[in-house]
Symmetry: C2
Subunit: 166 residues, 2 copies
Protein backbone atom coordinates (compact mmCIF):
# COMPACT_ATOMS: atom_id res chain seq x y z
CA UNK A 1 0.00 0.00 0.00
CA UNK A 2 0.98 3.66 -0.26
CA UNK A 3 1.90 5.69 2.82
CA UNK A 4 -1.67 6.96 2.86
CA UNK A 5 -3.11 3.43 2.72
CA UNK A 6 -4.15 3.01 -0.92
CA UNK A 7 -3.65 -0.10 -3.06
CA UNK A 8 -5.04 1.30 -6.31
CA UNK A 9 -6.35 4.48 -7.86
CA UNK A 10 -10.12 5.02 -7.90
CA UNK A 11 -10.57 3.11 -11.16
CA UNK A 12 -8.55 0.16 -9.82
CA UNK A 13 -5.35 1.14 -11.64
CA UNK A 14 -1.97 0.27 -10.16
CA UNK A 15 0.20 2.53 -12.35
CA UNK A 16 1.64 4.07 -9.18
CA UNK A 17 3.51 0.79 -8.66
CA UNK A 18 5.28 0.96 -12.03
CA UNK A 19 8.21 2.99 -10.77
CA UNK A 20 8.91 0.38 -8.11
CA UNK A 21 9.07 -2.53 -10.55
CA UNK A 22 12.56 -3.71 -11.38
CA UNK A 23 14.56 -6.85 -11.91
CA UNK A 24 16.36 -6.94 -8.62
CA UNK A 25 13.61 -6.54 -6.03
CA UNK A 26 10.40 -8.51 -5.75
CA UNK A 27 9.33 -7.15 -2.34
CA UNK A 28 8.92 -10.62 -0.88
CA UNK A 29 6.67 -11.91 -3.69
CA UNK A 30 8.65 -15.06 -4.53
CA UNK A 31 8.89 -16.09 -0.88
CA UNK A 32 5.16 -15.50 -0.43
CA UNK A 33 4.29 -17.34 -3.63
CA UNK A 34 6.33 -20.38 -2.64
CA UNK A 35 4.67 -20.53 0.78
CA UNK A 36 1.15 -20.96 -0.62
CA UNK A 37 -0.77 -23.50 -2.69
CA UNK A 38 -4.06 -21.61 -2.91
CA UNK A 39 -5.13 -18.11 -3.88
CA UNK A 40 -8.36 -16.51 -2.77
CA UNK A 41 -9.92 -13.28 -4.01
CA UNK A 42 -13.15 -11.32 -4.34
CA UNK A 43 -15.00 -10.63 -7.56
CA UNK A 44 -13.62 -7.13 -8.18
CA UNK A 45 -10.05 -8.38 -7.88
CA UNK A 46 -10.87 -11.31 -10.18
CA UNK A 47 -12.33 -9.05 -12.85
CA UNK A 48 -9.38 -6.64 -12.48
CA UNK A 49 -6.94 -9.49 -13.13
CA UNK A 50 -8.96 -10.67 -16.15
CA UNK A 51 -8.92 -7.05 -17.35
CA UNK A 52 -5.11 -7.08 -17.47
CA UNK A 53 -5.53 -9.32 -20.52
CA UNK A 54 -2.66 -11.60 -19.57
CA UNK A 55 -2.54 -15.32 -18.75
CA UNK A 56 -3.98 -16.30 -15.37
CA UNK A 57 -1.06 -15.39 -13.09
CA UNK A 58 -1.48 -18.31 -10.65
CA UNK A 59 -1.64 -21.38 -12.94
CA UNK A 60 0.15 -23.66 -10.47
CA UNK A 61 -2.13 -22.77 -7.54
CA UNK A 62 -5.72 -23.62 -6.75
CA UNK A 63 -7.70 -20.39 -7.27
CA UNK A 64 -10.98 -19.52 -5.54
CA UNK A 65 -13.04 -16.47 -6.41
CA UNK A 66 -15.71 -15.41 -3.92
CA UNK A 67 -18.36 -13.71 -6.04
CA UNK A 68 -22.08 -13.47 -6.57
CA UNK A 69 -21.67 -12.00 -10.04
CA UNK A 70 -19.85 -14.84 -11.76
CA UNK A 71 -21.56 -18.16 -12.35
CA UNK A 72 -20.70 -20.77 -9.75
CA UNK A 73 -18.47 -23.46 -11.17
CA UNK A 74 -14.94 -24.48 -11.98
CA UNK A 75 -13.07 -23.42 -15.10
CA UNK A 76 -9.51 -24.65 -15.57
CA UNK A 77 -7.86 -24.03 -12.22
CA UNK A 78 -10.36 -21.37 -11.05
CA UNK A 79 -13.40 -22.12 -8.90
CA UNK A 80 -16.16 -19.56 -8.38
CA UNK A 81 -17.75 -19.71 -4.93
CA UNK A 82 -21.01 -17.81 -4.63
CA UNK A 83 -22.67 -19.30 -1.53
CA UNK A 84 -21.61 -19.78 2.09
CA UNK A 85 -18.23 -18.20 1.45
CA UNK A 86 -17.22 -17.95 5.10
CA UNK A 87 -17.88 -21.59 5.92
CA UNK A 88 -16.16 -22.58 2.66
CA UNK A 89 -13.07 -20.59 3.66
CA UNK A 90 -13.11 -22.08 7.17
CA UNK A 91 -13.06 -25.55 5.62
CA UNK A 92 -10.31 -24.52 3.25
CA UNK A 93 -8.21 -23.28 6.16
CA UNK A 94 -8.79 -26.51 8.07
CA UNK A 95 -7.14 -28.45 5.23
CA UNK A 96 -3.58 -29.71 5.41
CA UNK A 97 -2.09 -27.83 2.48
CA UNK A 98 0.27 -24.88 2.39
CA UNK A 99 -0.84 -21.36 3.19
CA UNK A 100 -3.67 -19.52 1.41
CA UNK A 101 -3.00 -16.12 -0.09
CA UNK A 102 -5.80 -13.57 0.03
CA UNK A 103 -4.96 -11.64 -3.15
CA UNK A 104 -7.73 -9.04 -2.54
CA UNK A 105 -9.84 -7.04 -2.45
CA UNK A 106 -11.16 -4.66 0.14
CA UNK A 107 -14.62 -6.15 0.69
CA UNK A 108 -13.44 -9.73 1.16
CA UNK A 109 -10.57 -8.55 3.36
CA UNK A 110 -13.00 -6.63 5.57
CA UNK A 111 -15.25 -9.69 5.84
CA UNK A 112 -12.38 -12.03 6.71
CA UNK A 113 -10.96 -9.55 9.25
CA UNK A 114 -14.42 -9.39 10.84
CA UNK A 115 -14.47 -13.20 11.08
CA UNK A 116 -10.89 -13.27 12.40
CA UNK A 117 -9.92 -15.56 9.53
CA UNK A 118 -6.73 -13.72 8.53
CA UNK A 119 -3.71 -15.19 10.32
CA UNK A 120 -0.95 -13.00 8.91
CA UNK A 121 -0.69 -9.69 7.09
CA UNK A 122 2.30 -8.82 4.92
CA UNK A 123 1.97 -5.14 4.10
CA UNK A 124 4.53 -3.57 1.81
CA UNK A 125 4.47 0.19 2.40
CA UNK A 126 5.77 2.25 -0.54
CA UNK A 127 7.16 5.78 0.02
CA UNK A 128 4.48 7.56 -1.93
CA UNK A 129 1.27 9.47 -1.20
CA UNK A 130 -1.48 8.70 -3.69
CA UNK A 131 -4.03 11.15 -2.28
CA UNK A 132 -7.08 9.14 -3.26
CA UNK A 133 -8.07 5.68 -4.45
CA UNK A 134 -9.05 2.26 -3.16
CA UNK A 135 -7.88 1.56 0.38
CA UNK A 136 -6.37 -1.66 1.70
CA UNK A 137 -8.49 -1.28 4.84
CA UNK A 138 -11.98 -0.09 4.06
CA UNK A 139 -13.84 2.27 6.38
CA UNK A 140 -15.52 0.49 9.30
CA UNK A 141 -13.34 -2.58 9.17
CA UNK A 142 -12.77 -4.51 12.39
CA UNK A 143 -10.82 -2.95 15.23
CA UNK A 144 -8.24 -5.17 16.86
CA UNK A 145 -4.62 -5.55 17.73
CA UNK A 146 -1.97 -7.50 15.85
CA UNK A 147 1.46 -8.79 16.77
CA UNK A 148 4.29 -7.24 14.78
CA UNK A 149 6.61 -9.84 13.30
CA UNK A 150 9.55 -9.25 10.97
CA UNK A 151 10.29 -6.17 8.87
CA UNK A 152 12.26 -5.97 5.65
CA UNK A 153 13.48 -2.76 3.99
CA UNK A 154 14.16 -2.38 0.29
CA UNK A 155 16.48 -0.03 -1.59
CA UNK A 156 13.52 1.70 -3.22
CA UNK A 157 12.37 2.86 0.21
CA UNK A 158 9.57 0.31 0.46
CA UNK A 159 9.27 -1.63 3.70
CA UNK A 160 7.55 -4.99 4.16
CA UNK A 161 5.78 -5.16 7.52
CA UNK A 162 4.53 -8.53 8.75
CA UNK A 163 1.87 -8.92 11.44
CA UNK A 164 0.38 -12.03 13.04
CA UNK A 165 -3.04 -12.50 14.57
CA UNK A 166 -2.81 -12.66 18.39
Amino acid sequence: MTLDGYIASRDGGVEWLDKYRNNTEDYGYTALYESIDTVLMGGNTYRAILGFGCEWPYPDKTSYVISHREQQGTNDCISIISDNAISFIKQLKAGTGKDIWLVGGGQLTAQLLEERLIDEMQICVFPILLGTGIRLFSENSSAYEWIADKQQSFLSGAILLTYRKP
Copy 2:
Protein backbone atom coordinates in the same frame (compact mmCIF):
# COMPACT_ATOMS: atom_id res chain seq x y z
CA MET B 1 -0.98 6.17 13.22
CA THR B 2 -2.72 2.80 13.28
CA LEU B 3 -2.10 0.17 10.58
CA ASP B 4 -5.24 1.43 8.86
CA GLY B 5 -4.06 5.05 8.95
CA TYR B 6 -6.00 6.59 11.84
CA ILE B 7 -4.61 8.98 14.45
CA ALA B 8 -7.75 9.29 16.57
CA SER B 9 -11.25 7.92 16.92
CA ARG B 10 -14.10 9.85 15.31
CA ASP B 11 -14.55 12.09 18.34
CA GLY B 12 -10.83 12.90 18.44
CA GLY B 13 -10.08 10.43 21.24
CA VAL B 14 -6.67 8.77 21.47
CA GLU B 15 -7.55 6.03 23.96
CA TRP B 16 -6.25 3.44 21.49
CA LEU B 17 -2.75 4.73 22.30
CA ASP B 18 -3.07 4.01 26.03
CA LYS B 19 -1.88 0.43 25.80
CA TYR B 20 1.32 1.57 24.11
CA ARG B 21 2.24 4.08 26.79
CA ASN B 22 4.93 2.94 29.19
CA ASN B 23 7.98 4.22 30.99
CA THR B 24 10.61 2.62 28.80
CA GLU B 25 9.63 3.63 25.27
CA ASP B 26 8.83 7.10 23.99
CA TYR B 27 8.67 6.18 20.27
CA GLY B 28 11.17 8.89 19.35
CA TYR B 29 9.33 11.71 21.13
CA THR B 30 12.27 13.01 23.20
CA ALA B 31 14.57 13.09 20.18
CA LEU B 32 11.91 14.90 18.15
CA TYR B 33 11.16 17.36 20.96
CA GLU B 34 14.83 18.26 21.38
CA SER B 35 15.23 18.88 17.64
CA ILE B 36 12.57 21.62 17.51
CA ASP B 37 12.05 25.09 18.96
CA THR B 38 8.60 25.73 17.50
CA VAL B 39 5.30 23.87 17.38
CA LEU B 40 2.62 24.49 14.78
CA MET B 41 -0.95 23.18 14.75
CA GLY B 42 -4.44 23.74 13.41
CA GLY B 43 -7.44 24.87 15.42
CA ASN B 44 -8.95 21.42 16.00
CA THR B 45 -5.69 20.11 17.41
CA TYR B 46 -5.36 23.22 19.60
CA ARG B 47 -8.86 22.82 21.03
CA ALA B 48 -8.26 19.08 21.54
CA ILE B 49 -5.12 19.84 23.58
CA LEU B 50 -6.98 22.48 25.62
CA GLY B 51 -9.70 19.88 26.17
CA PHE B 52 -7.22 17.54 27.85
CA GLY B 53 -7.37 20.01 30.76
CA CYS B 54 -3.64 19.79 31.45
CA GLU B 55 -0.91 22.44 31.33
CA TRP B 56 0.18 23.57 27.86
CA PRO B 57 2.48 20.67 26.90
CA TYR B 58 5.03 22.79 24.99
CA PRO B 59 5.90 25.60 27.45
CA ASP B 60 9.53 25.85 26.34
CA LYS B 61 8.67 26.13 22.63
CA THR B 62 7.15 28.91 20.55
CA SER B 63 3.62 27.76 19.72
CA TYR B 64 1.63 28.86 16.67
CA VAL B 65 -2.00 27.95 16.11
CA ILE B 66 -3.40 28.41 12.59
CA SER B 67 -7.08 29.09 13.13
CA HIS B 68 -9.92 31.32 12.03
CA ARG B 69 -12.03 30.49 15.09
CA GLU B 70 -9.74 31.80 17.81
CA GLN B 71 -9.06 35.51 18.13
CA GLN B 72 -5.77 36.57 16.55
CA GLY B 73 -3.19 37.45 19.19
CA THR B 74 -0.57 36.14 21.55
CA ASN B 75 -1.30 34.68 24.96
CA ASP B 76 1.64 33.44 27.05
CA CYS B 77 3.73 31.41 24.64
CA ILE B 78 0.89 30.75 22.14
CA SER B 79 0.24 32.89 19.06
CA ILE B 80 -2.95 32.57 17.04
CA ILE B 81 -2.49 33.13 13.31
CA SER B 82 -5.70 33.66 11.40
CA ASP B 83 -4.59 35.33 8.17
CA ASN B 84 -2.08 34.48 5.44
CA ALA B 85 -1.10 31.26 7.18
CA ILE B 86 0.93 29.88 4.28
CA SER B 87 3.10 32.96 3.85
CA PHE B 88 3.49 33.14 7.63
CA ILE B 89 4.73 29.53 7.71
CA LYS B 90 7.07 30.15 4.78
CA GLN B 91 8.63 33.04 6.73
CA LEU B 92 8.83 30.87 9.84
CA LYS B 93 10.66 28.16 7.90
CA ALA B 94 13.08 30.70 6.45
CA GLY B 95 14.21 31.60 9.98
CA THR B 96 17.44 30.34 11.49
CA GLY B 97 16.03 28.42 14.45
CA LYS B 98 15.72 24.70 15.06
CA ASP B 99 13.09 22.58 13.33
CA ILE B 100 9.35 23.21 13.46
CA TRP B 101 7.04 20.41 14.57
CA LEU B 102 3.64 20.18 12.89
CA VAL B 103 1.67 18.68 15.79
CA GLY B 104 -1.51 18.33 13.68
CA GLY B 105 -4.14 18.10 12.42
CA GLY B 106 -5.41 16.70 9.17
CA GLN B 107 -6.54 19.92 7.48
CA LEU B 108 -3.34 21.84 8.10
CA THR B 109 -1.26 18.80 7.14
CA ALA B 110 -3.15 18.50 3.84
CA GLN B 111 -2.61 22.22 3.15
CA LEU B 112 1.12 22.07 3.92
CA LEU B 113 1.55 18.90 1.86
CA GLU B 114 -0.17 20.68 -1.03
CA GLU B 115 2.27 23.60 -0.67
CA ARG B 116 5.23 21.22 -0.39
CA LEU B 117 6.11 22.80 2.98
CA ILE B 118 6.65 19.56 4.91
CA ASP B 119 10.31 18.51 4.79
CA GLU B 120 10.19 15.35 6.86
CA MET B 121 7.54 12.93 8.08
CA GLN B 122 8.07 10.74 11.14
CA ILE B 123 5.22 8.25 11.15
CA CYS B 124 4.99 5.80 14.02
CA VAL B 125 2.84 2.86 12.89
CA PHE B 126 1.21 0.92 15.74
CA PRO B 127 0.16 -2.74 15.25
CA ILE B 128 -3.54 -2.12 15.60
CA LEU B 129 -6.55 -1.69 13.32
CA LEU B 130 -8.92 1.01 14.54
CA GLY B 131 -11.55 0.49 11.82
CA THR B 132 -12.74 4.09 11.77
CA GLY B 133 -11.73 7.55 12.97
CA ILE B 134 -9.69 10.57 11.93
CA ARG B 135 -7.03 9.83 9.36
CA LEU B 136 -3.46 11.15 9.30
CA PHE B 137 -3.80 11.70 5.55
CA SER B 138 -7.18 13.09 4.61
CA GLU B 139 -8.92 12.08 1.40
CA ASN B 140 -7.70 14.02 -1.65
CA SER B 141 -4.39 15.03 -0.15
CA SER B 142 -1.49 15.67 -2.51
CA ALA B 143 0.00 12.81 -4.49
CA TYR B 144 3.78 12.65 -4.53
CA GLU B 145 6.78 10.54 -3.74
CA TRP B 146 8.96 10.68 -0.65
CA ILE B 147 12.42 9.38 0.16
CA ALA B 148 12.49 6.73 2.86
CA ASP B 149 15.03 7.51 5.56
CA LYS B 150 15.66 5.60 8.78
CA GLN B 151 13.36 3.08 10.49
CA GLN B 152 13.19 2.23 14.17
CA SER B 153 11.34 -0.75 15.65
CA PHE B 154 10.01 -0.88 19.20
CA LEU B 155 9.30 -3.83 21.48
CA SER B 156 5.59 -3.07 21.44
CA GLY B 157 5.53 -3.77 17.71
CA ALA B 158 5.35 -0.12 16.72
CA ILE B 159 7.71 1.06 13.99
CA LEU B 160 8.85 4.63 13.40
CA LEU B 161 9.18 5.36 9.67
CA THR B 162 10.97 8.52 8.58
CA TYR B 163 10.56 10.06 5.14
CA ARG B 164 12.18 13.12 3.56
CA LYS B 165 10.86 15.38 0.83
CA PRO B 166 12.67 14.74 -2.48
